[in-house]
Symmetry: C2
């Protein structure tokens, strides 16, 4: 059964692949699972039909027959458990890969989102100039620790896993900040992720949505 995911009809990132459907597209491409996409507007996202699928009114959702999931982490884990390619078979290595999936979402992403929200919405606030260095510091603390753990390895724990997929998409959200320039090992890690054929296909597909929306004006 072909699953259907939801994505922004008009992504605020203008096709840079930073919205959370990109993670799910990439995971589906890694395991070779075809999928359909239903685009939702910002208004539709907060209306009853979508809220019935996603109680917090966000994208992506994942529908497979009568199963409805939300939360990119849960969707990726669901995909990874059903087809080979995103989790090791060995039970301990599998639990460690899942640990990185949670670490990307819960320890690395929150300070990155906090910083990104501040740069989007707080620029005119009286406190912006004082707060930004604090937010940068919180991001750098996590990147220092992550870079130390990665060392000169290609991936966080053995072969490429769902944990790396999530971490790469989380780190990409720092793109325009310039902070990643200070972390050559993490920049190379992101580039390894972006070079994967599955990533390339997913990126092209989400970008095509932006291009189509732009051509409609």
């Amino acid at each position: 059964m072909t699953p259907t995911i939801t994505a922004f009809e008009s992504s605020p990132d203008r096709g840079q692949g930073l919205a959370r459907d990109m993670r799910v597209r990439w995971a589906l491409e890694e395991v070779g699972q075809p999928y359909d996409v239903r685009l939702v507007s910002f208004e539709a996202m907060k209306a009853a039909p979508h809220m019935a699928l996603h109680p917090f009114g966000q994208i992506p959702t994942y529908e497979e027959g009568d199963l409805v999931l939300f939360e990119s982490g849960a969707i990726i884990l669901h995909i990874a458990e059903r087809r080979p390619g995103l989790l090791p078979d060995e039970p301990k290595a599998r639990s460690r890969a899942i640990t990185w999936l949670f670490a990307a979402l819960n320890t690395v992403e929150p300070p990155i989102v906090d910083r990104s929200m501040a740069t989007l919405f707080d620029r005119e606030k009286s406190w912006y100039a004082e707060r930004l260095p604090m937010l940068d510091h919180q991001v750098r603390t996590r990147l220092d620790q992550l870079s130390a753990r990665l060392g000169d390895a290609d991936w966080l724990d053995g072969g490429f896993s769902a944990g790396d997929l999530m971490m790469v998409t989380v780190l990409r959200r720092l793109g325009s900040s310039g902070i990643l320039d200070e972390y050559p090992a993490l920049s190379a890690y992101i580039a390894r992720g972006e070079a994967r054929p599955a990533y390339q296909r997913a990126f092209a597909d989400q970008r095509a949505v932006f291009a189509a929306a732009s051509s409609r004006g």
Copy 2:
């Protein structure tokens, strides 16, 4: 093999059970898995031996033979997959319960932590009075949506699951804010979690650590 978790030697919450070891203790109690606890000081948490277990220098960690995990979500999922009591057997219900585990950590907890960090560290800042209502609003948005989805059910999706366990511990972090008083259905939901015998045992055990530290002066 008896697993060992780590917890704060001196918890900043003074025994209220808000530190993240509480979630793991509760999960272990729900499945009837005995465990050992190793207490770590704030200094030890950032030193090399602990950082080898937890790259971000936090608690809890989970050691079981040569397996080392971190991130409370990953640890609870690992426990829930190995013993009955925290996830339904039916595959779709199981994926939905895991969705709530991620939703608690990724959608509900971040605004709660942001608010709590501001009340702890930004009280003296010039922007505190202006930012607090914004932070409160972000918390209330999530609580409105969560309360709407819960409705008059006992748990988020059928029977009690790892998703409820995580959600209850996340909501408890709002304890002293007074915001939960506006949400009687969520308050009753938290109370149902706290009434579970496994919760009670876990709470007593973490509280004993605080009492012992206090008596040492």
